[in-house]
C-alpha cells in the first residue's frame, strides 16, 4: 500500500499516491489534461516548454501547532505562489493546491502557443503529423487565433534533414522539446541525438555514424509533439485521418509487441487495402508504448514481390505449375494417402496457434505425432512452461532490490524491447548481471559482466553459487533469468534453461509475478509451438530420420540451415505451405500452397512471457493465399478427417477445449482491455504521443506449473560436452536484428543498415590462419556449401571461436553451434 497525499485541483480534493508527478495525477485522478509539449509520462520532466504552467499554492499551516489556518469564511487558507509554476516539475505533496482553468493560466497557455507558432512554419496541410499533431490540437484549443508575427520575420530552415536512413528532421517544425533526445538517452541508452547550438539556433543533430544509430529510432516520431520527426517509411505516404487502425502483434521476435497497423485503400496497391505504417499499441506489460525499428519497418514482406500467390504442383517434368486449390489439395492428399503414417511436419514460429492446431490435427488423423518446431535452436520453452516468469509479470516494475540475469543471448539483437525494458530496470536500481561468451551491447548497462568460454554457459551458471554475484541474485526481491542459446547445442540450451530454473527454484523465485525464467526463443510464436506439441527435439529427429512425406509450414529451411538440402534429399515428398516462393518451394516442394501472412488474417500468438495475444485482419490476401489453418483444415477434409473449420475463432474454441494451457482462452477474452497507466492514446495526443490506445485486447498470460501451485522438480542440468574441435574452430551462429531473412528483406529502407555477411574471428586465430581484418574467408562445415564472408578481427570473438551471424547473405550460415574450417578465400 503506497502512501497517499491529499491535493486540491480546481477546488476538488483528491487522494493521490505520494511521489506522483502532478501532470500524471491531474490526468489520472482529476481527468484534467494539463497541456504539455516537453513532458512525457515515460521520461523525467525538464520543464522546458512552459505549456503546463498552473496557479499553485499550499494550504497554510500554523508553524507552531501544525494546524491548518482558516480564513474568515472558515475555509482553509491557501498560500499562493507569486508566479505560475510548471506542473510537470512538481511532485504531489500534502496540501498542494492548483488551479488549471483560470484566466491567468489560460493566458499563459495562449502565450506559449503563440511563442511556439512564431517560428513554426504552419505547413499543416503538407505535414505528416497534421490531424494527429499535439501542436495543432493545442493551438486549436489554446492558441490566439491570429498571428502577430510578421511573415517576413519567420525563420527559414532546412525541411528535409536525414538524421539517418530511417528518420527525417524538419528543422522548421521542431519546437526544441528534447523528447527525442531524452528518449534516446533515458529510455534507450543510445544517446545518439543531441542539441546543437543555442537560442533559436538550437537544433537536433545526430552524433553517431551512421546517423541516428539505434534500433529504436521510430519511437521518437511517435512522441515528437510536432511533425519535426517523420519516418522514411511513412512521410508523405498518407494522412492520418484516412487511416484505419487494425490491432496486431509484431511477428518478428518473442517479445510480441502490440502494434497497430495503419491501413488505407491505396493507389500503390491497385486501390486495395495496404499497410501504410506500423505503430505501437499500448500494452504496459509487454511493450509499454514502444516498438523497435524492425517491428515498425519490417511489414513490407506482407506485400513483397516474392509472395507465393497461387497453389503450385510439380509435374513429372520437374516444373511447378499453378493449379486451383482443389487440384493442389488433391495432389497433396494423394501424396499423404500413399505415405500412410510416415508423415512429419515442421512448423515455423511465425505460424499462429490456429495454424498449428490444424496441422497437429491433420497429422493426428494420419497417425503421426512427429511435430517439429522450427528453427530447432532453443529447447527452453518446456522449462518456461514450468517456471517461466509468473503471471502478472511486468518488466517495467523491476527496480531497486530486484535482480536480472541475462545469459547466452545478445538481447539487443534477439529481443530489442526486452533489452530496452531491462536497461530501464537497471536504471531503476535492479542488479543486472550479464553473462556471455563474447561482449554484447547489454554489457553497457550491466552492474556486472561475466565472460565464459564458448559453450560453457551451463558451467558458468553452475559456478555462480561461489561468486560474489550470488548473494545479489539469491537475496533479490524478484529475480528474472533471461536465457538464450547462443553457442549452445539444443541439448545445451535445455541444460542451460534447466540450470537457470534450478537457481530460480532454489532461491524461491518461481510462481510469483516479476520472477522466473524468460527464454529468448526464436520467432513470434515459439511458446505456441511448445504448447501445441511442436518441439525442436522432434525436428532433430526428423532431420535424422526423414519421413516419406514432410509438411513444411512457413519455415525457410534452405535459408536457415546449410545442411537442409543434404537431409531433405532423403524425403520423398515435400508439401510446403509458404508465404514466399522460397528456395524450398521452388526447388524441392512437390506441392506448394500459398498462405496468408499475419497481416491478412486473424489469429493468435503466444509470446515469450506466455501471453496469448490476438491479431486482426488488416489487409486483403495476396493472390489465392489462404490462412494456413484453413488450407490444412481443407486438406484434412480431403483426407476424410471431417469438415473444415470456418474461422480462426472456431479453431481457438477447439484448442481451448483440448489443450489445458489454453483453458478459458477465446478470441473474445483475448480482446478484453482495461484502462492502463499512463493513459495514452486519447485525444490528448500531447501527453503520450501517437502510440495507440489498446482496443484490440491485452491478451491472457498462460500460468506456469509453478503459478498453479504445482511442485516443480529440479531439472537435469548437466553441462554440455564441449564440441570436439580436432584442430578446427568452433563456429557459433549468432542473431542480427537487421538481416536478409525473407520477412525483412523487402523492407528496402533498412538495407543500408544490414551488414555485409561477416564472421568475427579472434585475432590469435586469425594470425595463425594468415587472415586480416577485412579479408574474404571461406567457412567449411560438414554437409554444407562453403560460406564466403568478410572477416572481422576486432575483439568480437573469443579464442578458438568464430561468430557467424545468420541470415546476412543468400548462403545459409550454420543453424547451430558446430565445428568448421576457416580459410582465406582467393581473390
Amino acid at each position: 500500500m503506497t502512501n497517499t497525499v491529499r491535493i486540491i485541483i480546481n477546488d476538488q480534493t483528491y487522494d493521490v499516491p505520494a511521489g506522483m508527478n502532478l501532470v500524471d495525477a491531474a490526468k489520472w485522478y482529476a481527468n484534467d489534461d494539463i497541456p504539455v509539449f516537453c513532458y512525457h509520462p515515460k521520461m523525467e520532466p525538464v520543464g522546458m516548454c512552459r505549456m503546463c504552467l498552473v496557479e499553485m499554492g499550499t494550504i497554510e499551516k500554523d508553524r507552531a501547532t501544525g494546524q491548518v489556518v482558516l480564513d474568515e469564511n472558515g475555509q482553509s487558507k491557501v498560500r499562493w505562489m507569486p508566479k505560475l509554476q510548471t506542473a510537470c516539475t512538481t511532485t504531489v505533496s500534502d496540501g498542494l493546491v492548483i488551479r488549471t482553468q483560470t484566466q491567468q493560466v489560460q493566458d499563459a497557455r495562449q502565450n506559449v502557443v503563440e511563442f511556439l507558432l512564431t517560428s513554426h512554419p504552419l505547413d499543416c496541410p503538407i505535414c505528416d503529423k497534421g490531424g494527429e499533431c499535439p501542436l495543432q490540437n493545442l493551438t486549436m484549443e489554446h492558441g490566439p487565433g491570429v498571428s502577430r508575427m510578421a511573415f517576413s520575420d519567420k525563420m527559414r530552415l532546412d525541411k528535409h534533414v536525414p538524421l539517418g536512413d530511417l528518420i527525417f528532421l524538419d528543422e522548421e517544425r521542431c519546437i526544441q522539446c528534447a523528447r527525442c533526445v531524452r528518449f534516446q538517452d533515458e529510455v534507450v541508452g543510445d544517446d545518439v541525438l543531441a542539441f546543437h547550438e543555442r537560442g533559436r539556433s538550437l537544433q537536433i543533430i545526430t552524433n553517431s555514424e551512421p546517423g541516428f544509430d539505434t534500433y529504436f529510432s521510430g519511437n521518437t516520431t511517435d512522441i515528437c509533439p510536432v511533425g519535426a520527426l517523420t519516418t522514411a517509411d511513412f512521410r508523405f505516404g498518407a494522412r492520418p485521418w484516412e487511416l484505419t487502425e487494425v490491432p496486431s502483434i509484431c511477428p518478428h521476435c518473442p517479445v510480441g509487441c502490440n502494434i497497430s497497423l495503419s491501413t488505407r485503400l491505396d493507389r500503390d496497391f491497385g486501390g486495395k487495402t495496404l499497410i501504410k505504417r506500423v505503430m505501437p499499441r499500448q500494452n504496459e506489460q509487454v511493450n509499454e508504448i514502444w516498438i523497435c525499428d524492425k517491428g515498425r519497418f519490417g511489414h513490407h514482406f506482407s506485400r513483397s514481390e516474392d509472395r507465393l500467390e497461387d497453389p503450385l504442383v510439380r509435374e513429372r517434368s520437374g516444373r511447378l505449375f499453378a493449379k486451383s486449390w482443389t487440384d493442389a489439395l488433391a495432389a497433396a492428399a494423394e501424396a499423404l494417402k500413399a505415405a500412410g503414417s510416415d508423415v512429419a511436419a515442421i512448423a515455423g514460429s511465425g505460424m499462429s496457434n490456429e495454424d498449428l492446431w490444424a496441422l497437429r490435427q491433420l497429422l493426428a488423423g494420419l497417425g503421426s505425432r512427429r511435430l517439429g518446431a522450427w528453427p530447432p535452436t532453443h529447447a527452453g520453452a518446456e522449462v518456461v512452461a514450468q517456471v517461466g516468469v509468473g503471471q502478472g509479470t511486468n518488466l517495467g516494475q523491476l527496480g531497486r532490490g530486484d535482480a536480472v540475469l541475462v545469459i547466452a543471448s545478445d538481447l539487443e539483437e534477439e529481443a530489442p524491447i526486452w533489452r530496452l525494458r531491462l536497461k530501464q530496470a537497471a536504471d531503476r536500481g535492479a542488479f543486472l548481471l550479464v553473462m556471455n561468451a563474447r561482449p554484447t551491447r547489454m554489457d553497457d548497462f550491466a552492474a556486472q559482466t561475466i565472460h565464459y568460454e564458448t559453450g560453457e554457459a551451463v558451467q558458468a551458471l553452475l559456478a555462480l553459487k561461489d561468486s560474489d554475484a550470488w548473494k545479489q541474485l539469491a537475496e533479490a526481491h524478484n529475480l528474472v533469468i533471461v536465457a538464450g542459446a547462443e553457442g549452445l547445442s539444443l541439448d545445451g540450451s535445455r541444460a542451460l534453461a534447466g540450470a537457470a530454473a534450478n537457481i530460480l527454484l532454489e532461491t524461491e523465485h518461481v510462481g510469483k509475478p516479476n520472477s522466473g525464467l524468460l527464454a529468448v526463443l526464436p520467432g513470434a510464436n515459439a511458446m505456441g509451438l511448445h504448447y501445441l506439441g511442436f518441439t525442436p527435439a522432434a525436428t532433430l529427429d526428423i532431420m535424422q530420420n526423414p519421413p516419406k512425406v514432410l509438411i513444411v509450414t512457413q519455415a525457410d529451411l534452405l535459408l536457415d540451415d546449410p545442411t537442409a538440402a543434404h537431409w531433405l534429399a532423403k524425403v520423398e515428398t515435400i508439401i510446403s505451405l509458404d508465404l514466399f516462393a522460397s528456395g524450398l518451394t521452388q526447388q524441392l516442394a512437390a506441392v506448394a500452397l500459398p498462405i496468408q501472412s499475419f497481416a491478412e488474417r486473424d489469429g493468435s500468438y503466444v509470446n515469450g512471457e506466455r501471453r496469448v495475444q490476438r491479431f486482426y485482419t488488416a489487409q486483403g490476401p495476396m493472390g489465392q493465399a489462404l490462412p494456413a489453418w484453413q488450407a490444412l483444415s481443407r486438406l484434412g477434409e480431403q483426407l476424410g478427417q471431417g469438415t473444415a473449420k470456418l474461422s480462426a475463432a472456431a479453431v481457438m474454441v477447439e484448442i481451448a477445449q483440448n489443450v489445458p494451457a489454453f483453458a478459458g482462452v477465446s478470441f473474445k477474452e483475448l480482446a478484453k482491455v482495461e484502462r492502463q497507466y499512463p493513459d495514452v492514446g486519447g485525444k490528448d495526443l500531447y501527453y503520450g504521443g501517437t502510440a495507440y490506445r489498446n482496443r484490440g485486447g491485452l491478451g491472457i498470460q498462460i500460468p506456469t506449473a509453478a503459478d498453479q501451485g504445482q511442485t516443480v522438480a529440479r531439472f537435469e542440468a548437466a553441462a554440455d560436452e564441449p564440441p570436439k574441435t580436432r584442430g578446427k574452430l568452433v563456429i557459433v551462429p549468432s542473431v542480427r536484428l537487421y538481416n536478409r531473412e525473407r520477412t525483412f528483406r523487402p523492407s528496402a529502407l533498412v538495407h543500408a543498415r544490414v551488414p555485409e555477411a561477416y564472421a568475427e574471428i579472434n585475432s590469435a586465430d586469425a594470425k595463425k590462419l594468415g587472415i586480416q581484418d577485412g579479408d574474404t574467408v571461406e567457412i567449411a562445415i560438414q554437409n554444407a556449401p562453403a560460406l564466403r564472408v568478410r572477416a572481422h578481427v576486432n575483439g568480437g570473438a573469443p579464442k578458438g571461436t568464430v561468430i557467424v551471424p545468420r541470415h546476412l547473405s543468400d548462403t545459409a550460415a550454420p543453424l547451430a553451434v558446430t565445428v568448421g574450417e576457416v580459410s582465406k578465400a582467393e581473390g
Binding site: R50, V112, S119, R200
Partner: protein
C-alpha cells in the same frame, strides 16, 4: 580608503604568492582551519555577506544548506563573469588571485568539500593559465591537496574554462557545463546545495569570485568589523564597474550605500564634454534601465534602495549614457545580446528574444509602426516570470523599461517610418514551400 578586494591597487605585486603572504595572506585560512567548520559558517552568516553575483543571497546561509552527512561535496566558483559592463571579477583574478583561492578554500573547509572548481568564461584563457600557476603555489605551500596543514582534510582546486556562453553564469547551467553537458539551466528543486542538485549530483556551493574574495577579510577581522562597512542590510564593500559616458570608467571598490551621484560624479569624473546624463543601466543589460534624475542619482547603492527605485543592484555594473544616446538603439543592442545568449531551453525566452530582435530591427530600420511598440512591450511582458531561469526576465527588462521610461525615443523611430506597402513586403519574402 584601503581596499578589501582590489588590494592590487594598494600593493601592486600582491598577485605574487610571497607578497600576498607577507601581507597576511593565507592567515585567514589557517585561522579557519583552527575553527570548527560550523563556526566558520556562523561567522560568515554573522557578517551578513551577500552574494555579489547579482542575486544578493546571504552567503553564510547558502553554505549552511549543505548537508554535512554527504561524503562528497563541492565548491564551484563562478568566474564566468559575462554580464554586460561587468569586469570586477577579472581584476580580482588578475591582480589578487590568491585572495580568491584563499576564500574558496575557507568555503571548502566550512562545508568540508572535497574539491573546488573554478569555472571561468572561455575568454579568460590567459587568466585561467595564470590562475593555475597561483594554485600550484598554494599547493606547494600546503594549502591545496592532501592532508591540508595537517588537518587530515584534503581538497583539490581545479580551473575549468567555459566555451563562451552568458547562460553558464547561471549556477545550474554552470554546473551542467562543468559536467561537460550543454549549458542549460536545470529544474530546481533540487537546488545545488541539495543531494541530486549540485555538481555530479553532489551538494555544491556556487559562489561568485567577488563574494569569496571577501571571506578572508571577514575571517581575519571578524563579522562585527565587516558589518561596520556599508549599511545594515548591505554590508561590506562592493566593486562598482562603471562604464559608458563617464570621464574615468573603471572599477571602484566602495562601501555599499554610496550614492550613484557620488560614484558617477566624484569617483568616475562625471559625463565628459559637459553633456547631461540621460540614463543609467545599473546592472548591465539585465537590470531595468533608469532615467538619470536627481532622485535616482541620490539613491544609495544598496540591495534595498535600488529595488525601491524600480531597479536592482545586481552585479553593480553601471553603464552611463549621456543625452546623445538613442535609447531605442540601446534596447535593440541589448536585445541582440540576449537573443544571442538565450540557451533555447524555455519557449518564451528562445522564441521571444528572436521575435523582439526582429521587430526592433524593423523599428531601427524605420520600417515599423506605433503598434509595433505595443507589440514588443506585450511580447516582453509575456516572457516575464514564466521561464526556468532569470534570463527570460532579463531579456524582457530592456524592452519593458526602455519603453516605460523613454517612450519618446521609440516614437521618433516609428513616426518618421517609411513603411513599405504590404504587397511589396510579401514579394520580398521567400516563396512558401
Amino acid at each position: 580608503m584601503t581596499h578589501i578586494l582590489l588590494r592590487g591597487r594598494d600593493i601592486p605585486d600582491i598577485w605574487k604568492y610571497d607578497v600576498y603572504v607577507e601581507n597576511g595572506g593565507y592567515e585567514a585560512f589557517k585561522k579557519a582551519l583552527s575553527l570548527e567548520p560550523k563556526a566558520v559558517i556562523d561567522e560568515v552568516k554573522a557578517s551578513n555577506l551577500r552574494g555579489r553575483g547579482g542575486a544578493g543571497f546571504p552567503t553564510g546561509v547558502k553554505w549552511g544548506f549543505i548537508p554535512q552527512s554527504e561524503p562528497v561535496k563541492y565548491v564551484a566558483v563562478n568566474a564566468d563573469e559575462s554580464e554586460t559592463g561587468t569586469f570586477k571579477d577579472r581584476e580580482i583574478l588578475e591582480t589578487n588571485p590568491h585572495q580568491l583561492i584563499e576564500g574558496a578554500l575557507i568555503c571548502a573547509w566550512a562545508i568540508q568539500a572535497t574539491a573546488v572548481y573554478i569555472y571561468l568564461r572561455g575568454e579568460f584563457w590567459d587568466v585561467a593559465h595564470e590562475l593555475d600557476k597561483r594554485i600550484e603555489e598554494a599547493r606547494r605551500a600546503g594549502f591545496v591537496g592532501q592532508n591540508i596543514q595537517g588537518t587530515g582534510w584534503s581538497c583539490e582546486v581545479y580551473t575549468h574554462l567555459g566555451a563562451g556562453a552568458y547562460i553558464c553564469g547561471e549556477e545550474s547551467a554552470l554546473l551542467n557545463s562543468l559536467e561537460g553537458k550543454l549549458g542549460q539551466p536545470r529544474v530546481r528543486p533540487p537546488f545545488p546545495a541539495q543531494k541530486g542538485g549540485g555538481l555530479y549530483g553532489e551538494p555544491t556551493v556556487v559562489n561568485n569570485v567577488e563574494t569569496l574574495a571577501n571571506v578572508p577579510w571577514i575571517i581575519t577581522n571578524g563579522a562585527a568589523e565587516y558589518k561596520k562597512i556599508g549599511t545594515e542590510q548591505s554590508a561590506g564593500t562592493k566593486i562598482f564597474c562603471v562604464s559608458g559616458h563617464v570621464a574615468k570608467p573603471g572599477n571602484y571598490e566602495l562601501p555599499m550605500g554610496v550614492t550613484l551621484r557620488e560614484l558617477l560624479y566624484e569617483h568616475a569624473g562625471g559625463v565628459p564634454g559637459g553633456k547631461a546624463m540621460k540614463a543609467i543601466l545599473p546592472s548591465g543589460g539585465s537590470g531595468p534601465i533608469i532615467p538619470a534624475t536627481d532622485a535616482v542619482l541620490d539613491t544609495p547603492l544598496t540591495y534595498e534602495d535600488m529595488s525601491k527605485i524600480g531597479s536592482i543592484l545586481g552585479s553593480a555594473s553601471i553603464i552611463v549614457m549621456d543625452e546623445t544616446v538613442d535609447i531605442t538603439w540601446v534596447a535593440a543592442k541589448v536585445t541582440k545580446f540576449f537573443k544571442h545568449e538565450s540557451c533555447g531551453k524555455c519557449t518564451p525566452c528562445r522564441e521571444g528574444t528572436y521575435w523582439l530582435d526582429k521587430v526592433l530591427d524593423r523599428i531601427m530600420a524605420g520600417q515599423a509602426q506605433v503598434s509595433d511598440i505595443e507589440l514588443i512591450d506585450n511580447v516582453a511582458k509575456n516572457m516575464q516570470g514564466v521561464t526556468l531561469c532569470a534570463l527570460g526576465d532579463f531579456a524582457a527588462n530592456p524592452i519593458i523599461y526602455t519603453i516605460k521610461n523613454f517612450r519618446d525615443d521609440f516614437m521618433q523611430h516609428v513616426q518618421k517610418a517609411d513603411i513599405k506597402p504590404a504587397s511589396k513586403a510579401r514579394q520580398a519574402a521567400p516563396a512558401g514551400d
